[in-house]
Each structure stands twice: as C-alpha cells, then as structure tokens.
Symmetry: C2
C-alpha cells in the first residue's frame, strides 16, 4: 500500500461507481451543509443591519424572515421540478444552456463558480473565526488554521464523495439536533409564559435603544438582501443528482426537501425566538460582540453543557459548509468542460471517481483568497448572494422555456411554478446588486464577464485544434524513404555504441555529430576509423558521416541543436530523427553529478522543432 | 539583446580570455579585498579580548600585532614561492594534493571551501551590520539588505572577473587612502608631541580600568587566535594566478606583495596608534559600543567629512570583502571537480568565462547561512581562522615536499622558507583550535570530514560510471533486425497518421495501441480497416497489429506504459521503439488546455525502462 493510497484511498474502478453513490442520510451533509449552515449567519446578517433601530428593529425580523422563507419555498418547488426534468444533473448551467442558449448557460455557470469559491473561503474563515473567538490564544494563527482546514477538506474530497459524507454526518446532525432542541424549548417557554418568556441568561440591552432612527425602505431592502445569504447553497443538490442512489431523482428530491424543511424550521424558529426574547444583534466589530445564536442558546438554556455542545456544532458546521462548494464546484466545471468551455481535464474522474482537478482548482483559488485576506474574509460575505441568485434566476427561466416546449399534461402548471421562481429570484438579484453594489457586489459584476471571456477563449482554441487535426482521409503511405538519423556523441563509450547500433537498425542515412574541443579531434578521427568505419564496412552497411561542430562559446547543446534544426530546414519534407543518448541515474541524488545536456537538448529541439523532426531517447541505465 | 544579456553581459568566446585577464590594479580589489578588510576586524577582535585588562591591556597590542605581522611575512614568502612554482594556479588544494597526496589535498580544499562560505556570509553581515548601526531605521530590514547585497555580488561575479574588479576598485582604494592618511596623521602627531599626542576627540575611558585582572597565557593566546583572522584571505591570489595578465606569475606575485604590504602597514599603524592614543576596545554588546577604527579616526581627525568618508569606505570594504570568496571559491571547486571529487559541471566555464555554477553554489550556501542566522553572523567569526590556517599549513607542507623532490639550485633555501611557514601556521592552527574550540571551531572540525566523505563519494561514483561505460572495443553491427515499433493512439487524427507514417518508415514490425473506452471500439475497428489496413496493403507493407487495452480505472497512461514495459520484458534483446505523439502548443498559456499524457508517458517509460527501450517523440506543432 503506497503512501498515496493511504492518503487518498485505493483507486476505484469505474464499475465501483454504484457503491460510491449516496442516499438521503449522507446527501444532507454533503449537499446541504452550505444551505443549513446559512441559518447561522443569514438571520444574523439581516439583524446586524437593524442594530440602529434598537429594540424596535426586532419587530421587522418576522416579516423579513417570512419573505425569505417564502422565497425559499418558491425556490424549492422550482428546483424539485428541475431535478425531475434533469435526472442526470440539472445544474443551472445545464438547464440554462439547454433551454436559453449557450450564453445564459455560461453566465449561470460563471456566477455559480465564483459563488462557490467565495463560499469555500468564507465558510472556512467564518468557522476558524468562531474558533479563535472561543480560544483567543489561537488568534495569531488564523491563517495557518484556515489553510490547515482547507487541506483537510481537500483531502477528504479527493478521497471521494461517500467518505466525505461520513466525515460530515455527525456535525451536521448534531447541529440540527441542537437547533431544533433550542427552538422547541424556546417556543414552549414562550407559549407557557403567554408570550413573555423569562430568559435564563438575558441578552444584552441594545446600545442604541434610546436613539430614534427613521425606518427607510432602503434599510429594509439591505436587511433583506443580507438575509438572502441564507438561501445560498440550495442549488447544490440539483447539480449533484447523479451522485444519488437509485432512484436518483426521487432520492435527490427527498434530500432537497428535507434540507429546505430543516432550513425553514430553523429560520422561522430563530425569528420567533429573537422576537419573543427581544434579542438584538451586537456590533460585530465591538468588544462585547456576541452572535445571535449564542445569545439565543444562552436565553433558552443558560451556560451549561448544552450551550457548549450547540456552539461547538455551529463552529464545525461553518467550517464544513465549505465542503458543499467542494462537492459541487467540480461538477459544475465538469459540465462546462464537457462542452469544451473549460480544459477537458476537468471532466476526467480521478482515482476515487471524483473530478479531482476541479477539487484542486477550487482548493487553489480558495487558498489564494484566504492568503490574500489573511484568513479573515468578512468583507467577501456581501458578494456571495449575487452569484447564487443569478444562477437561480437563469435556471428557473430556463425551466420556463423548457415547459413551453414540452407541452406535457402539467406543463402549464409547472411553467407557472418556475416562472414565479424566476421572477422572485430575478427581483432578488436586482435588490441584492442594488443594496450591495458599493460593498462589493461590483466585483462579481466584473468577474463574471472575465470568466466568460476565458471560457469562450478556451472553446475557440479547442475548435481550432479540432479543425486542424481532424482527418477523415485514410492513411497515405506514399513516401516511406528512410529517415535521416543524426546522432550527437560526446565521447566513445558504450552509450555511443548503443546509440549507433540503434541508428543502423532504423536507417542507412546516418550523421554523427561531435562538438570539437581543443585537444581531442585527432584521437576522435582515429577512433572513428578503427571503430565505426571498419565495422560498417564489415557489416556491408553505409558508413555514417562524421561532422565536427566548432563551439567558440564552450556551449555543447547549442551547436548540436543549431545543426539539427538547420539540417531540418535544409531538407524540407525529410524525416529527421535526432538520437539523444542519455545516462539514466537510478538514484535521485546522483542526478547532480551529470550534465543535464540530454534534457536540455530534448527541450530545445521540442521547442524549436517542426512536424518532421523527431527526437528519440537512447537511455543507458546505470545502477 | 535579451534580458539575460543585459543582466549577465553577452557571452564571451573562449578566445576572449586574454582580454578578461587582470593586472595588479584590478587584482588588488578582486583578490585582496578579503585580506585588506580584515584590518578592520582583526585588531578589534584581539583588543576585545583584552577589555578586562583595561588600559593595561593596550600594552599587549604591540607584541600581538608584531607576531601577527611576522606570521604574515612568513606566509607571504611561502606563497610567493608557491605562485612561482605553480603558475597555473597553486591553491592549497593543488599544492597539497600534488606533493602530499590526495587526502591532504582534499582536507585543504574542504577547509578552504568552508572558510569561503563563512567569509562571504560574515563579510556581508558585517557590512550591513555597520550600515544599520549608522542608519538605525534600517535595522528591521537587516536580512533583506543582506540578501540584496548577496544578489548584487552574485550578479556582478556572474558577469565576469574584469567587471567585478571595476566595481570594487573605488571602495578598495578609498579605504586604503583613508587608512594610510589617518595613520600618517597619527604617527606625525605622536612624534611631534613626543609620544603623547592630544586626541581631537578622546576615546572613551575603559570601563574596567580600576579592576585588576591577572594576565594569563590563555588570555593572550585567545587574543592572538582572534587577531589571526587578519590573515584570512591571503591565499586567494595563489588560487587565481591564471586570472592574471602575462607574465602571470610575476603579476600575481606583485599583487600579493602589495596586498600584504598594505595589510602590514595598516596592522602596524593601528597597533601604534592604539597604544599612543590609549584606545581600548568597547563591549560589542554594550550600548556605548564604538569600533576601534571609529575611535581612531575620531582621535586623529575629529568628526568631520574625513571621518564620514573613512567610515563609509570601511562599510563598503566589509560588504565587498565577500567578493574574494566569490572570486576564489569557484576556482577551488573547479580544481576539485577536474579531479572528479565534485560534480564536473563545476569545472565548466559559463557564458562570461567564470565558473558560474560555483558562484551560484556559494551564493546558495551563503544565502542559507544568512537566512539561518537572520543576517547576524557574529557567532560565525570564531570559526573562520581554522579553515584558512589549516589550508595554509597543508599548502606550505606540500611546498616542503615539492622542494625535497625538486633538488634545484635554491631548493634547500626555498624548502627552509616553506618549512618555517608550515611550522608557524601549523602551530597557529593548534592555537586557534584550542582557543576557539568551545566557541565554534568544533563545527569546522566536524564539517571538514563530512565534506571529505561527500567528495570521496562523488569520486567513487564517477569511477564506477566510467568503468561501466568505457568501451575500448570497436562497434559490432551483428544484429541489425528492425526494431519493434509501438504506437499508442488516442483517436484517428492527423497526428495519428503522422506517427504511423513515421513508424512505417523505420520498421515493418508495428503495433498500435488504443485504450478502450466504453463507446468507441466499433468505430475504431471500422476506421482501422478502412484507413490503415487498406493503405498498408496498397503500399505492399505489413499490416500493423491493433491492440485494445482495457482500463478499468480510467487511467490512460498507465495501461500504455504497462503494455510497453511488458512487451520489452517479453522480448529480451529486441529493440523496442515507443512512439509518443504529442501536440505542441506554441503559446504557454494553452499548455493547460491539453492533457499532459505524452509528458507523463515519456517520464514513466524513462523511469522504468531499460537499455533496449527507446522513446521517440512525434511532435505536432499547433500554431
């Protein structure tokens, strides 16, 4: 068992695929972590904007949450239909491309890709941020911790989907359990106390409660846009339908349904408890900052083992929410690469049946973001509802077009569902862009066209290559004259003899090159006559041509390469084989003891060569 | 003019060598900077150890300096003779190896190599240290400044000797001018005042003047050992004789003579003035630290433009003293590499007629030391008289053996000169090791055997390679059967046709490999019959064998490589040519758009191949 096998797991055969597929229980952590974890920051993001309103702001959380939940329900029904219609994976890209055309499809894909990179970075950074808040001594190591988490998530994902689900199973269900328990206790207390429950540990009084601030539409719009981050990650299931167990579409739909139900319960429960316990967000940059969930847990249960368990599960879920991006980003890339808009290697499954290259690219981009922002990516949060909602909108619009063509029994009904989804999410995109343009949404607005340009460039290149190489005509073997074989030698040795024998075995037309040094040319001519000419005559073979190359600048490789390239230019249409003898060291540490001239010569000839110049390696293994 | 030409200068032809050679004026800065700069720290190192004696210690500086100067004179006459006897470069290695044997030669070489690495690191670090003392705001950037200086010195040395001399000319002569001027003024004042000159700015009173401390032989011995660092760098000229202008030996001797004369004047002058102005060293770790030279300049001239010029020249000379190591280390390496005790590439002159690889290795080792010590290498200073004096001793001992064999007219007289040198420097080695063992000389004592083991290992490897490859027999062309040509193809394209045509032109015995994917094998067989079989029959050629390879793990390269290696194992003695078709992108950024399978296949076959397996590249250039 090699070290690679130990880290990444043994290679899986294509026929193992069924066994790697997942059911609902594993599907929820793998494709739902991002969506579920957003309960931990969506309501908080909305409430933070309401801080200036003091206690009065709490009143707005119920209508805000209600509209977000309504949006979630719309999106759920839309995606349910999408999964049924595209059981092979109906990501926004596929749906938009098939129904609306290539350009809208690529826009959706670019939006999603950017969104996933942001999700991965923000998830890791938020989780580690929560950890360092709890253990301040780790604060100086934020970036290292973030990168460590990234490496773990990357490795887990390279091992394959099924294993990834196993790792994330426990924290996800722990988080869900804690949330539901806290909400149940809180709701019971509220009802039992007639609407005025007594918190076990009261949330801090709002700082700005005395000041009267006007409630503007703009403020409510911004709070809504922030709260919408709670919806990101919902599209993941539809991209990954193929990863589910048979019957795939139904399993995927059930998974999506459970994820969204859990999210709705959490969002509604948080909104209800925030209002009944009068919890007001605290300034995230202030010294007495405390998260909404922390205040909520304290109010409901006090500072006991339940509190610490719940907070720990929040941390874990936040860190692992990055995993949804890792599960889905490579699938989005694969779909695009299969249409030749991204490098085709992104569509190749690796040893563990995952699209390894996509995982690695996401890891690299996420790592770059984490390093660039020093592990603190708060500033990226405003960016990442734009991509998700843009993809939602294009996907729903694509489904509308789909039903218009389909004309089945429920086509009209289905079309209306998707149309409502498209309009609702489209409106949300506009709200989010408007509300967050200055804070950073403009970056997404610039990045999407840049990514589109890249994708079209890739496709154009593949088209040109394909055109240049396509060859419907059969083979023509008109010209089978023997090639000109050129053998550069350094001295008379077993390698030299070996190379010459090979040359004699493939052609009669041989030239031998020596780079002339000051003192060896006489000896060389003697050797030549006694060794080569005599042997060739004895074997009735044509005597090779001996060519001495001058080297005023003491370069060895350059004159040889120049000669071969010139010979190729002087003999257009002639096949030229350059034989490069090379001593191969079996031990790496002996590598430095020999000149790397063979490697250099091969590289030079490959760089400056042409279609009729072939380089043949003659290795000599030295043990 | 390329960017490389701009930075390193245009390549120099071997025939340009004369023009690159140097005279006395340039020789002094190039080969003498290390020796001359040691006037700035040798006396200081000795006096620092005398601090506990207070003013009484000053009395010992004259006898100490006298013995160091005597040693210097002995070494001078010894090396003068060495240069005359070895006009092609008589470094310690050459002299010891030719006269005493390989082992003593390599010991001398190892000692010198270690010494040069230390010299380069300590020189740069001392110079930058002096700079940051003068401009404290730069202190936080010490390491960056050190590495910057290292890069500059490396680049200058890669450009070639002549240019290096030009850069270092001005600071060297400025330093010499300032030193001689200060000494002349001081001596004049002392004589004019009858031995009690009045300092313009008086040196600080010794801190420990009240305390009576016993003068031990041990203390004086340690002070002598420290003062001996003033002699390091003297051997540089003898290694570099070949770099001098005709008549090389005389030019080198004159250069060495002038360097040593200047050094003697400075050492004697400093000792004289230290005593007459009652200058006592200050604690280098204390707050009121001031260097001996700074106190001396202040006493003689006050704090005016002369003082600042002189101090600036000291800084420059210290930084540039690292350059001697750069001039000489590559020459030592070349001499050893020519005897196959170090990688032969160290004996190859680069584009500017310098031994570029030696320069780069020294730069790397120096950089590693500077980074390891954070740019502050004070602790290395005790180490670096050991190597120099060990090399001196072995070189002189070698000269004694030389004269014993030579038996010329002056042989006896010359032998006595060198014998005195050998005994004096040999005794000094013992003193230095004894006095500095605990402070760090033990590192050298360990490092030399390690380096020797490496050198013998390298030589053993070259001997084995040489033996394995040596081939006195003429070529034998007994078996010239056509090779088996294996052509792995991915799909039917122009590249595939191109590769097949080449295969047909060199052999009748062809096998074509396809890695079977699920859906293409029918199509493949059709193509094969219509394209290849028909064409081969039409051209009266043998039809190649078509082989389909299964790939359960979706690997493409692995099954191909396995098949080729197995075929090679199954047909021992048969030449097998693996043809690797490859699409060559002209633009680097398109590199990522194609699989790197060809590169991977070539690497695998080279790694696991054998002497009868040849890899031929069939490039297809895509513009």
């Amino acid at each position: 068992m090699s070290i690679i096998d130990l880290i990444l797991g043994r290679p899986l055969a294509s026929s193992d695929e069924r066994a790697q597929q997942i059911g609902v229980a594993k599907g929820i952590p793998i494709f739902g972590l991002d969506a579920l974890s957003s309960a931990a920051y969506g309501p908080e993001a909305a409430l933070t904007l309401l801080i200036p309103l003091g206690l009065a702001g709490v009143a707005y959380i119920v209508p805000l949450s209600t509209s977000i939940i309504a949006l979630l329900v719309i999106v759920f029904f839309s995606y349910r239909q999408t999964i049924a219609a595209y059981p092979n994976g109906g990501g926004s890209y596929t749906v938009a491309r098939e129904n609306l055309g290539t350009f809208p499809g690529l826009v959706a894909a670019a939006a999603l890709m950017i969104d996933y990179v942001l999700t991965a970075a923000v998830g890791i950074s938020a989780g580690i941020g929560a950890l360092t808040s709890a253990v301040p001594s780790l604060h100086a190591r934020t970036l290292e911790l973030c990168l460590g988490a990234l490496v773990i998530i990357t490795l887990v994902n390279l091992r394959g989907l099924s294993e990834a689900g196993g790792v994330f199973l426990l924290p996800t269900y722990l988080f869900l359990g804690c949330m539901v328990t806290a909400i149940a206790i809180g709701v019971f207390q509220t009802l039992a106390s007639g609407g005025n429950p007594h918190p076990i540990i009261a949330p801090p009084a709002p700082a700005a409660s005395g000041a009267m601030v006007g409630v503007s539409v703009w403020l409510i719009m911004k709070a809504f846009a922030s709260g919408c981050t709670a919806l990101t990650g919902v599209e993941a299931v539809s991209n990954g339908v193929k990863a589910f167990r048979e019957p795939t579409a139904q399993t995927a739909q059930r998974t999506l349904g459970l994820i969204i139900a859990a999210l709705i319960i959490m969002l509604a429960g948080i909104a209800f408890l925030v209002r009944s316990y009068h919890i007001v967000a605290t300034d995230p940059n202030g010294n007495s900052y405390q998260s909404i969930l922390s205040m909520l847990f304290l109010a409901v249960s006090g500072r006991g083992w339940f509190y610490y368990t719940a907070i720990a599960s929040v941390l874990l879920v936040l860190v692992f929410s990055a995993n949804t991006a890792f599960a889905d980003f490579p699938r989005v890339c694969r779909a695009i690469a299969e249409d030749f808009f991204l490098p085709i290697s992104l569509a190749t499954r690796g040893r563990r049946l995952v699209y390894s290259q996509g995982v690695l690219i996401l890891a690299a981009l996420t790592g770059a973001l984490l390093i660039g922002f020093g592990g603190v990516t708060d500033r990226l949060i405003p960016l990442y509802a734009v991509g998700a909602f843009l993809a939602f909108t294009l996907s729903q619009a694509g489904m509308v077009a789909h039903w218009l063509r389909e004309k089945g029994p429920h086509a009209i009904r289905n079309m209306i569902v998707n149309a409502i989804g498209a309009i609702a999410t489209g409106a949300t995109v506009l709200v989010v862009i408007a509300a967050k343009f200055v804070e950073g949404a403009w970056i997404t607005v610039i990045a999407i066209p840049a990514l589109l340009a890249l994708m079209y460039g890739v496709r154009r290149h593949y088209d040109r290559v394909h055109e240049a190489l396509a060859s419907p005509e059969p083979l023509e073997l008109g010209d089978l004259t023997e090639p000109l074989v050129i053998v550069p030698l350094q001295q008379w040795s077993k390698i030299a003899k070996h190379a010459l024998c090979l040359a004699f075995s493939i052609s009669k037309n041989i030239r031998v090159l020596f780079v002339a040094s000051e003192d060896c040319s006489d000896e060389l001519h003697n050797d030549w006559n006694s060794h080569v000419s005599a042997a060739a005559q004895a074997a009735n073979a044509q005597i090779p041509e001996l060519i001495l190359l001058p080297s005023p600048y003491r370069f060895v490789v350059q004159p040889i390469a120049d000669y071969i390239l010139q010979a190729s230019k002087d003999n257009p249409g002639t096949r030229i084989i350059a034989i490069v003898p090379e001593l191969i060291e079996q031990r790496w540490y002996n590598y430095f003891l020999h000149s790397q001239r063979a490697t250099l010569l091969k590289a030079l000839l490959l760089l400056k060569g042409n279609n009729d110049l072939f380089v043949m390696n003659v290795p000599w293994y030295f043990k």
